[in-house]
């Protein structure tokens, strides 16, 4: 029992030794404590509160008034200097990008695609490239512009494409084909193109996917114009569309081949039929002769020896097959 006070004394000494290594606690200077208590400070009150400890305020540079004014604009309109290039006349190219939003390489590739589309399709595709955050000025009336520029000439589909924000894209058709292509079909075309665009993340790649899908959808619009019924009724997936387009191309190729080869095939068949008919006619007209051999008379018959079969048709239960082996009546079973 004498050991416990000794052990306690040793522990106290060791703990004091460790305590001497830590930094010194802050201490009050002068009447600091009295001043704080006079202001209503309660010692340890901060630990009793649920509010987080306030961080030290950062020194932030205050914005200038003009900068605040700029931030208040929700989305910038296209600068006025670009408006004539966009909307003054019917575009000369299928890709309109006066702001240079696309890189030169992308612009060249996309324009090449649109030119290829124009050469392959009866409906041209004009694309106005606009910044993703930009707005078309309210003074520009798109529908009126479409009617003014695209009423004459080849039918066209006009797309306002917002680079980086394909969901904002708008499509218009020239007046000559709006009657044949329903608004629902236009909407589906746009939706499927936007869906395709969203498969990519880069704006340039989105734009490329958008154009490819829109070109495919225009193919279906062409079919509608030609009077063929639209095959699908819901917004299709791009893969099935591409397959359909491939199948349709094959069917068209086969149809053309059939049309081209119809006359030669008919001629060959006719020739075969004629030859076959002629040979058949010759065979019908053929006269057959048998060689005549000298046959010794038999059974006293001067002209015939009685060779030949006999058949009974007394009952359907006695078919010819059962009469083939003709034997004397006395050899038949009763």
């Amino acid at each position: 029992m004498k050991f416990f006070p000794l052990l306690a004394a040793c522990g106290l000494l060791i703990s004091n030794g460790f305590a001497l290594d830590e930094p010194m606690l802050p201490t009050w200077h002068g009447n600091e404590r009295a001043e704080l208590q006079a202001k209503g400070w309660v010692p340890g009150a901060i630990l009793l509160s649920a509010d987080p400890v306030p961080a030290e305020p950062l020194k932030v540079e205050q914005p200038k008034p003009e900068e605040i004014a700029e931030d208040l604009k929700p989305s910038p309109e296209i600068l006025e200097k670009f408006l004539p290039a966009y909307f003054a006349e019917r575009p000369k190219n299928f890709l309109i990008d006066p702001q240079g939003l696309l890189s030169p390489a992308d612009y060249r590739d996309r324009l090449g695609f649109l030119n290829y589309h124009a050469s392959d399709s009866s409906i041209d595709l004009f694309v106005y490239v606009i910044g993703g955050e930009q707005e078309i000025p309210s003074a520009v009336r798109e529908e009126e512009m479409i009617e003014r520029f695209f009423s004459a000439g080849r039918p066209a589909a006009v797309v306002y494409y917002y680079l980086g924000a394909p969901q904002r894209s708008v499509v218009y058709l020239s007046p000559s084909i709006t009657d044949a292509v329903s608004a629902a079909e236009q909407r589906r075309a746009l939706e499927s193109s936007v869906m395709q665009a969203f498969e990519k993340t880069k704006p340039s790649e989105q734009f490329e996917k958008f154009l490819v899908q829109m070109s495919i959808r225009i193919y279906w619009m062409e079919r509608m114009l030609a009077g063929a019924p639209a095959v699908e009724s819901v917004a299709p997936i791009a893969n099935s569309n591409e397959q359909d387009a491939t199948k349709s191309a094959k069917i068209l190729w086969l149809r053309n081949l059939a049309i081209r080869s119809a006359i030669p095939t008919a001629a060959i068949l006719g020739a075969f039929m004629t030859i076959f008919g002629f040979l058949h006619w010759l065979r019908l007209r053929a006269r057959h002769r048998f060689p005549e051999f000298e046959v010794e008379p038999r059974l006293g018959g001067s002209h015939a020896a009685g060779i030949g079969a006999v058949i009974s048709f007394a009952s359907a239960g006695l078919p010819p097959a059962s009469q083939r082996d003709q034997v004397p009546d006395y050899l038949r079973r009763a």
Binding site: R289, E292, E296, G300, G306, V310, P320, P328
Partner: protein, 219 residues
Amino acid sequence: MKCPRCVQRIHRAAASCPHCGFTLADADARFGDEDVRIRSLTDTAGILRRGDRQCVEAAMEKITCRFPQLFVAIYTGSLGEISNIRQFGFWLLNRAAFEDVPVGKPNEAGILITIDPESKAAGMVFGYLLDPFLEEADTFECLSRAHAYWLEGRYADGILRAINHLDSILSKRSRQARRDPEHFERRILGPAHLGDLVRRIRAGHRIVAPEQESTEVTR
């Protein structure tokens, strides 16, 4: 070939049936020994209507055109027993004088179809000219084609079917005979000819003069 009376097989040069001794004289005793003047289509039983007759005559005429050596004759009548129809066909083709068949066509070139609507039996016989080319099985095939029609009493239709099939068989045999006539000639060689053949084989296929042969026999 078979005997018209006992339906036993007989050889090709039999003067009478070796089994029952049947000859034409027996048939003459039964049906008459004088020649009978009939037309090639004789419907004694009255089973063919006027329209039917024309169709049947046209089919018979077609055979005559395609096979100028041949003619087809049809006789319908009541004969009593089935066994008689074999003998009757044999007898009629030997004794009939067909009024509407050219004289140049002997009965050897005839094919006679006999139908007995009472005993419900039919038979087909042919003359010596077709002996090498037709067999009993061929005539049976022709009659088999008509069997279903005759069961229903459609005699004309059955006759037409039989004649059509006969036409196709004759065409085939005629082509075969043109290609290989020896094959058919061998069929009608009698025992005497076969004896010659055996003799030739024994002699090593050398041509032996008859005098020489007789000399050898004398020795």
